[in-house]
């Protein structure tokens, strides 16, 4: 606006400027009203389109809930909690509890990716786990390392992993598998890119899984290893998806880290398990608040 330069006297130029400005203000107010209407319309349009886009996925969520229901764990373990924070509507994390002869099994997996493709892999993972368990149905002794190896074979063949064709998928999943002995004499653990934490007598011991996934790896297919955790009745075994330690957050936007994870577990371990779940939920939600969630997150605690 070059108003001062066009001044020709109070009666002529100024009036005109005043009128022009008034006109301009009216126009702008009208434009803003239009823009407000557009904002509302666009918000509605996007919300509706989003509802349409995700209708199938919301239905798919029901299938996932049916494929690994929480109550299944309750039927096998008497004292446990599972906190899970999916990134999308469906999740790439799954947990599964099973019984087999002399053992109770708890598995927690984090499939590659998240959302729909992650969810597709959960179905593959559940089938791989169930099929592997079927092989050992009559075995007196269970070896989680063998189960992980069998699952890896299943996943790799299913996805045609490692081939150079266009159809092959070299994804897989990270997995923690704990076999709780029914006689209470410890828990056998094997892990694929995931760790497990054992709380006993006020101290937390962490056990590292093998650094390879259930799936194709450029490092090849070395055998998985297993560890007998000397867990006693009343101890707690924590299964955690690896994504938690690498989740950025907090006031300084840093990784959650194993250090904070262990500190969190030690702070809650003496509480009843359902209370632990609330603290875990609060700690993790607070950590992520205002930051971008990078993957589905799951923490499970099971009392021996």
């Amino acid at each position: 606006m070059e108003t001062s330069a066009t001044y020709h006297g109070p009666d002529t130029g100024c009036k005109k400027i005043l009128d022009d400005n008034k006109q301009r203000i009216r126009e702008l107010q009208a434009t803003i009203a239009d823009l407000d209407a557009t904002i509302q319309a666009e918000t509605e349009r996007c919300a509706n389109a989003d509802i349409q886009n995700t209708a199938g996925i919301r239905y798919a969520q029901r299938i996932q809930r049916a494929a690994f229901p929480l109550k299944e764990i309750g039927g096998i373990f008497s004292d446990y909690f599972v906190f899970t924070k999916p990134l999308g509507i469906v999740t790439g994390d799954f947990y599964k509890a099973l019984t087999i002869k002399n053992y109770k099994i708890f598995a927690l997996a984090d499939c590659a990716g998240h959302g729909v493709p992650g969810a597709f892999l959960t179905m593959l993972g559940i089938a791989a786990l169930k099929e592997s368990m079927a092989i050992h149905y009559n075995d007196d002794d269970i070896h989680p390392s063998e189960i992980l190896g069998e699952m890896r074979q299943f996943v790799k063949t299913s996805l045609r992993s490692g081939n150079d064709g266009i159809d092959n998928i070299n994804d897989g999943m990270n997995l923690t598998l704990c076999a709780f002995r029914n006689d209470g004499e410890g828990v056998v653990f094997a892990g694929a890119n995931q760790n497990v934490y054992h709380y006993s007598n006020g101290a937390t011991t962490s056990y590292c899984g093998d650094r390879m996934p259930i799936g194709w790896s450029f490092k090849g297919d070395g055998p998985f290893t297993e560890t007998l955790i000397p867990a006693k009745k009343g101890d707690i075994i924590y299964l955690v998806t690896d994504s938690i330690q690498s989740q950025f957050g907090g006031p300084n936007n840093v990784k959650f880290s194993v250090k904070r994870l262990v500190a969190m577990l030690e702070a809650i371990a003496a509480m009843p398990l359902d209370e632990q779940k609330s603290v875990v939920a609060k700690t993790i939600n607070d950590w992520v608040e205002g930051h971008i969630l990078v993957d589905d997150l799951t923490v499970a605690g099971v009392r021996v």
Partner: protein, 299 residues
Amino acid sequence: MNEYAELQSEIARQEAQIEELEQLAQEKRDEIQRITQEYETTASDLKAGIHYAERIQRAVIPTDTEFKALFGDCFVYFVPRDIVSGDFYTYAASSDCKIAVVADCTGHGVPGGLLSMLGLSALKDLLSENVISMDLNPGEILDSLRKFVLTSLAESDESDGTTVRDGMDFTLCIFDNGMTHMRFATANHTIYVARNGEIIKLKGSRTPIGRHPKQDEPFESFTFDLQPDDMVYLCSDGIQDQFGGADDVKFTTRRLAEMLLDQSVNDTRTQLANISKIVDDWQAGRMQYDDQTLIGIRI
């Protein structure tokens, strides 16, 4: 001059208001762009995810080339409604037999695709090479698969108590290596055989693989003698249920049987081309109703 000063200050006030309003308008334009962009990012992420899921699914479903390598003279018409599919087909083979499977999971798109992943994975193990032979009871495979589906999908999920009634319709055919006969079982599916200018419909059990009032009744197994030149068709209900034509009605099993009979005299490559065209013409730009799968095998 007093009046002049008043006017000047009024103009200054107006200009300040104009600037404020222009800034506000710009903020609103930015807001609109943000809303649109945010939606588009979400939608395109979602789509990218579904496309990646499609790759995962396609890795698990055999290619038509692999299918042809086993069954020789055959065609595979596989047209999912959405990017991922609730229909799937697969095969298995051992030294004395070959198996062809067509399945149609409840729904389509992502939920259908999730179920198909579950079904395919379970089936893969049920049909491992050391298990299958001509002595295998196809009905028992369907029984095992049903057991897997029922135990995999809990009766109700804890959040709202609703039952997941999903499952799959299914066709499983076991052919001897000489293709002289086949043993088959179906769940809510019909197999069509074109022979000497006639269509023979083979109907197995009328129950799905999933939760059903008759879920405790075993699936029946049948044996069917084949003749050279027979065309055996395995299909989902996607084509017959497709709305279209002049009166916007379903294609129906009647038209499906007629189409298969007409086409059965052609070589399988021509059949595939013709069937694609017939179904396309029927749909004539309408929405595809469900996933469509049709496999034709020349004996």
